[in-house]
């Protein structure tokens, strides 16, 4: 693990990673999981959500998608509207009662469930117990595919160079960068291109991008430049927020490259039918 | 109430109902990664780190060091050396140059600073001091300035020559503090010196000789 943690790439400006968060993974693949779609995927990248379902189903896992789910509460939480975040979080907490793992196609929302729900409900013993139980069984999608499903894939797509962007909270709370790298590296025809300042924030930051649009704009502009310099033909990310930010900025600038959610990329690469489409 | 009492009262109320943390200091964290098997390894580490910041080493012996000091002064055309002539090493150096045709003049820091401030600042090209020891882990000399070797001796002259006995190099700062019992009595001034004075304040370009010595030479007595 530790070696994975030392980013080996010659990128002097990378933030040194924190220590691995120790986590035990279930020894056997569960029969059922919940999927939390996230608010951004729901309305902007629903295909990615569906691809996540397909990826999981192909591993023989039954996917449950409680229809009443909405948002993890993070936008309000990070804006300082803690009571409002708690109200929304509480509604989600009631939806995932069974002992199934909760799989989330976004590291930052997964981090919200895993690290911040227990803090949100610290004052209510009953809800706290539930939040802690949910935190224990929350997984980011790539993590779940890699560590729990232990996927064995065959890359079906043509050679391509991709750049990976990882959301900061996904990186720091969920180690998503490591999981996604490991998954991408299993695809024989996919060349993963590092980009300079890879670990630097893209400037999204939830409501930060609209509260401080100029600073955020400078950050995403630099991110787009770095991605372009990498020479990659596509950008993938496991986070809808960053995807919206980076692809929106690329489009506005008529720069950059096609970009997509990791779930869609993985499904397309490993599913012959999708490739031939 | 005085400012003191108000501040303390406020801090106390902030702590009301809490208990102080027990002391869980784990010495291994600051010692184990910085242990060196023997004297040679300690020397190697010290020389490596200090050389990396432009410290020069003269590796010599108890018998030879005066010659080496004179050589390095001569190489720089320096004819005056500030040294504690009342201490053993000063006397040794004085005895060594006696009768030499060409030798620098030795003089001591034997007056209060007020009596010769501008002379010290303007016309002392070099000083020689002893050291109390050194720390391999960080590449540092340990100096406890004294009446014979006051604080400014290691700071004002452009060239500082430091005598170091190899047996006095220890592994790390924690070990020094503990084995020498520093906590029981600190001098008015204790110093760690890890190279010549430097700055990177302009564009992060490293420049030596900022306010202190531009050159530091460690005369290492390997048999002492």
């Amino acid at each position: 693990m530790s070696e994975m943690f030392f980013d080996a790439a010659p990128n002097a400006t990378r933030v040194a990673p924190a220590r691995p968060l120790p986590r035990d993974y279930p020894a056997t693949k569960p029969g059922d999981v919940y999927l939390f779609g996230t608010c951004v995927v729901d309305l902007f990248y629903p295909e990615a959500g569906l691809d996540a379902i397909r990826l999981l189903e192909r591993e023989g896992v039954r996917v449950h998608f409680p229809d009443q789910q909405s948002c993890c509460g993070q936008p309000a939480y990070t804006s300082g509207y803690t009571d409002e975040a708690r109200a929304v979080a509480r509604a989600q907490l009631a939806l995932f009662e069974r002992d199934y793992p909760l799989v989330v196609p976004s590291g930052s929302c997964a981090g919200m469930f895993r690290h911040h729900y227990p803090a949100l409900f610290a004052d209510d013993p009953v809800l706290l117990a539930r939040a802690q139980a949910l935190a224990e069984r929350t997984f980011e999608l790539a993590e779940f595919l890699l560590e729990v499903c232990r996927v064995q894939w065959r890359d079906q797509g043509p050679p391509v160079a991709v750049a990976l962007h990882t959301s900061c909270s996904a990186r720091r709370e969920m180690n998503t960068h490591l999981h996604v790298r490991a998954l991408l590296d299993r695809l024989d025809n996919v060349e993963r291109r590092e980009h300079d300042h890879e670990s630097e924030c893209c400037g999204f930051g939830g409501t930060f991008c609209v509260r401080m649009p100029e600073i955020s704009g400078a950050m995403v502009a630099n991110k787009v430049e770095s991605l372009e310099r990498s020479g990659a033909a596509r950008m993938v990310t496991a986070d809808g927020g960053c995807l919206m930010n980076i692809s929106g900025a690329m489009e506005k600038r008529a720069a950059g490259m096609p970009s997509e959610h990791l779930a869609s990329f993985l499904w397309r690469r490993t599913n012959p039918a999708a490739v031939s489409q | 109430m005085s400012a003191r009492e108000r501040i303390l009262a406020k801090l106390r109320s902030g702590l009301a109902g809490s208990i102080p943390r027990p002391d869980d200091f784990e010495p291994a964290v600051v010692t184990e990664p910085w242990r060196y098997p023997d004297r040679a390894a300690r020397i190697e580490r010290l020389v490596e780190l200090m050389s990396a910041v432009q410290t020069r080493f003269e590796r010599t012996t108890r018998a030879d060091w005066p010659t080496r000091v004179l050589d390095l002064l001569e190489a720089r055309g320096i004819d005056r050396l500030l040294v504690a002539t009342g201490m053993a090493h000063g006397a040794r150096l004085a005895a060594h140059i006696e009768g030499l045709a060409k030798a620098p003049s030795l003089f001591a820091y034997d007056r209060p600073i007020e009596a010769w401030k501008s002379e010290l600042f303007d016309s002392v090209p070099a000083s020689l001091t002893t050291t109390r020891g050194a720390i391999a882990a960080t590449g540092s000399l340990i100096l406890w300035p004294s009446a014979d070797e006051p604080r400014l001796m290691s700071l004002v002259p452009p060239l500082h020559i430091a005598l170091l006995e190899a047996s006095r190099i220890q592994d790390n700062l924690h070990e020094v503090i503990e084995t020498e019992g520093w906590a029981a009595g600190m001098p008015t001034n204790a110093l760690l010196i890890s190279g010549p004075s430097k700055t990177a304040d302009i564009e992060q370009v490293l420049a030596y000789g900022a306010h202190g010595p531009a050159e530091l030479v460690v005369v290492l007595l390997e048999d002492a």
Binding site: E47, D67, S70, S79, K252 | S2, F121, W182, T188
Partner: protein
């Protein structure tokens, strides 16, 4: 007398972070200078801090600081007792005015005409230079970086490298203009000029002022780190030494500084240690031939005790002022230190300034972060900076009059009934499946009507384009009914 020092620095308002940032973002030179400098500092730190050493050390660093804070009043008293026994005079100040009064008292008693300063961020908090100048006392910075910016009537933009925002060309021009030196961009020559000018000043100064990195209660020792030697000069050559520091800087034992020292110099500069570690435990003794006759320590509160009252915010006071959080901050890297308008910029500035100047005077500071977490990841004493930023946002949007266990100065500075009701609507929408269904239906079906300009979003982005059908809808189609319920 140095002319530069007499003209008060023109500073940007700390209330206008956003507007200040606008200016900074459009300053291409600043952007380049900052990016280059921060990249290099990041790389240097990484090179000397292998993970295997770093993480246990950070843990220990955090322990030492947290333990000190857990008995802070007691340690301050012990420090005072030990220092007093050593012959050091200890002064307490709740406000910067009180602290300046202490300094001015000493200066008057000593009939001081010139003060030379080593680097001290607390003296920046006090605006000590201005206070002394107002009394006709010259106050000159001797740290090369501080000296450069004092010449240019500026304030430090970084807590370790005050002139980090300038390049050699800018310094060369400054020296040419103010010191009448021939123009040179050779850094060695520039430094030699500074050395020459300042050496005279050390000789003439009546008082030397310094900060403190760690104040050790056990031994009554003030520990200072530096590379240049100006700190040693300032604390040794003049007959009086005044050290100024915040009340949080105390540590319990001498050995406690071992991990902190190692963390500080490596996090700040990527150096295993600084050139000088200067441990001062008293004034000159009778038999000694140099060192100050008088040593004073001024302990300043200036809002720190407000942070201390709250267990979460108290962690802010763990800070050892290494600057690593700034070096790794994508926001600081882009807007520089000046835009913050506070003495401490960057992430540490964002979490400490609300206590020093009040949230009302730093209303945007907690929001000037994407909460990316880089700061918390590198902080050598493990301050959960992102959590504290979020907490301060919460304090900032509370109604100003709302009850609070430990009210913060300027609570509710960003309170907006309008925004709060928007979030309440958001709660209704996201807790009512029926409403949410209607909302997402409308959004996806009217997707082509998305306006071309959508507030701040479309400044940087193409207009957002909702999908034609939501994941809820796709899932309804794809999954059988019993996998879509709430399972209750």
């Amino acid at each position: 007398m140095n002319q530069a020092a007499r003209i008060p620095a023109v500073e940007l308002s700390s209330r206008q972070l956003k507007a200040n940032a606008h200016e900074a973002l459009n300053d291409a030179q600043l952007r380049t200078n900052m990016r280059t400098a921060m990249d290099s500092l990041i790389a240097k730190r990484l090179a000397v801090m292998p993970e295997a050493e770093r993480e246990p050390l950070r843990e220990l660093g955090n322990h030492v600081r947290a333990r000190a804070l857990s008995k802070l009043p007691e340690l301050l008293e012990r420090l005072e007792a030990r220092l007093t026994a050593n012959g050091v005079q200890v002064h307490w100040a709740e406000t910067v005015e009180e602290a300046n009064a202490v300094v001015l008292d000493i200066a008057r008693r000593r009939r001081a005409r010139a003060v030379i300063k080593g680097k001290s961020m607390v003296s920046e908090e006090m605006e000590m230079n201005e206070a002394l100048e107002a009394e006709g006392i010259e106050s000159l910075e001797s740290d090369m970086g501080e000296y450069i910016i004092q010449l240019d009537h500026e304030k430090p933009t970084h807590i370790i490298m005050p002139a980090i925002h300038k390049n050699a060309r800018q310094v060369a021009k400054l020296f040419e203009q103010h010191l009448g030196e021939p123009y040179t961009e050779d850094v060695d020559e520039l430094i030699q000029t500074g050395r020459r000018v300042l050496r005279k000043k050390f000789l003439d100064a009546d008082i030397g002022v310094s900060g403190v990195n760690f104040a050790i209660a056990e031994t009554g020792t003030l520990l200072l780190v530096e590379n240049e030697g100006n700190g040693r000069m300032s604390t040794t050559v003049p007959p009086v030494h005044i050290a100024v520091t915040g009340i949080e800087k105390v540590v319990e034992n001498l050995r406690d500084v071992v991990p902190l020292l190692s963390l500080l110099t490596r996090s700040a500069l990527g150096q295993p240690i600084t050139t000088y570690v200067n441990m001062i435990s008293g004034p000159r003794k009778a038999e000694e031939r140099d060192g100050p006759e008088e040593v004073h320590l001024v302990l300043l509160d200036n809002g720190r005790s407000q942070a201390f009252m709250d267990a979460e915010l108290r962690q802010t006071l763990n800070c050892i002022r290494c600057g690593a959080c700034m070096n790794h901050c994508p926001v600081y890297t882009r807007i520089g230190g000046r835009a913050y308008g506070t003495v401490y910029p960057g992430p540490i500035g964002a979490i400490i300034s609300p206590h020093l100047v009040g949230l009302e005077n730093a209303p945007d500071h907690p929001s000037a972060s994407s909460l990316c977490g880089a700061c918390g990841e590198v902080c050598p004493v493990k301050i959960p900076i992102p959590d504290i930023l979020r907490r301060l946002r919460e304090e900032n949007v509370k109604p100003p009059a709302a009850a609070s266990a430990h009210p913060l100065r300027g609570q509710g500075s960003k309170y907006s009934p309008g925004e709060r009701s928007l979030w309440r609507m958001w709660v209704r929408l996201y807790t009512s499946p029926r409403l949410y269904r209607a909302f997402s239906f409308a959004l996806t079906r009217l997707r082509r009507l998305t306006p071309a300009r959508l507030g701040p979003w479309t400044l940087n982005h193409a207009p957002p384009r909702p999908a034609s059908r939501s994941l809820h809808e796709l899932a309804r189609e794809h999954l059988d009914h019993d996998r879509r319920g709430a399972d209750r």
